[in-house]
Symmetry: C2
Subunit: 166 residues, 2 copies
């Protein structure tokens, strides 16, 4: 079971965008440069986030991406689901209905117990991710960083960002 690498990129990018003041946008290329990521591939994931209504894409010159909702209204689960899709990791093939001991399909009224247990586990996983918002995340991120990183980032963003009157 392996999670797409794009999830990590999407979370970091969303976290950065959440720190921008309203009206500021950051192009995908700049976001990629900030973490030394392959720009076109990151763009693909940012598009997925925009489709999910997490980011808003501002087209044209001086455009870029910005958060579409307040950081407190975006959970980690929202971001993960936007990139990975909402299909569960464990997919029940109903193999209990196959083989020499199976009976007619209409007799399997109760849900498969294995399926149920695996679904419960994934629900716990989702609940844990839903409990943390991007705002919570940033509240933890900034104090944990070295002051030099914060200062450099402020300068860098001030240069890379595209401001626009709302």
């Amino acid at each position: 079971m392996r999670m797409s690498e794009g999830v990590e990129w999407a979370l970091h990018s969303t976290s950065v965008l959440a720190m921008l003041p309203p009206g500021w946008t950051l192009p995908a290329a700049k976001l990629a440069e900030l973490h030394e990521l392959p720009a076109p591939y990151l763009a693909k994931h940012l598009q997925a986030l925009a489709r999910a209504g997490i980011l808003a894409a501002v087209p044209g010159a001086k455009g870029g991406y910005r958060l579409a909702r307040p950081p407190g209204d975006v959970t980690l689960l929202d971001v993960v689901t936007a990139v990975e899709g909402n299909t569960p990791a464990f997919r029940c093939g109903e193999i209990r209905q196959q083989g020499p001991c199976a009976v007619g399909r209409e007799h399997y009224v109760n849900r498969c117990a294995i399926h149920a247990a695996m679904a419960d586990a994934e629900d716990a996983w989702r609940a844990s991710l839903s409990a943390v918002t991007i705002a919570d995340l940033n509240a933890r991120v900034v104090p944990s960083l070295h002051p030099d990183t914060v200062a450099r980032s402020l300068d860098w963003v001030r240069d890379a960002v595209n401001k626009r009157e709302e």
Copy 2:
């Protein structure tokens, strides 16, 4: 994020083996036949379960697989980990240490907040799977099945199993 199909097969197979009386074994080919699964591929996963100490392989004629521990001592997490490996789904690439705003590696003493949140979610997932044993599972499975399936399975197993004096 997609879980290996072998996890489902391993869980069903382990559940079936847990119902066998002590001293009875079931060959991999028979287990595959029971659920109409590709026998060689299922065998691969059963080997993984044996390597993890969940199943015990009895070699030679009239051999087969049996549970290595009491069903109450085998959790769903044990089975999933045996098949999928213990590497976490989310792997932190520490991309925060890359890019123009990064500082020396020695300054990143706090764990990455994103990494921590994702790890917490996976811990919740593991905790949910650890809370259910194969014994619990079977206690739920049997009453949920149609009586005909139970009867057929008893007959089928009685014919397919390899008994041996302990």
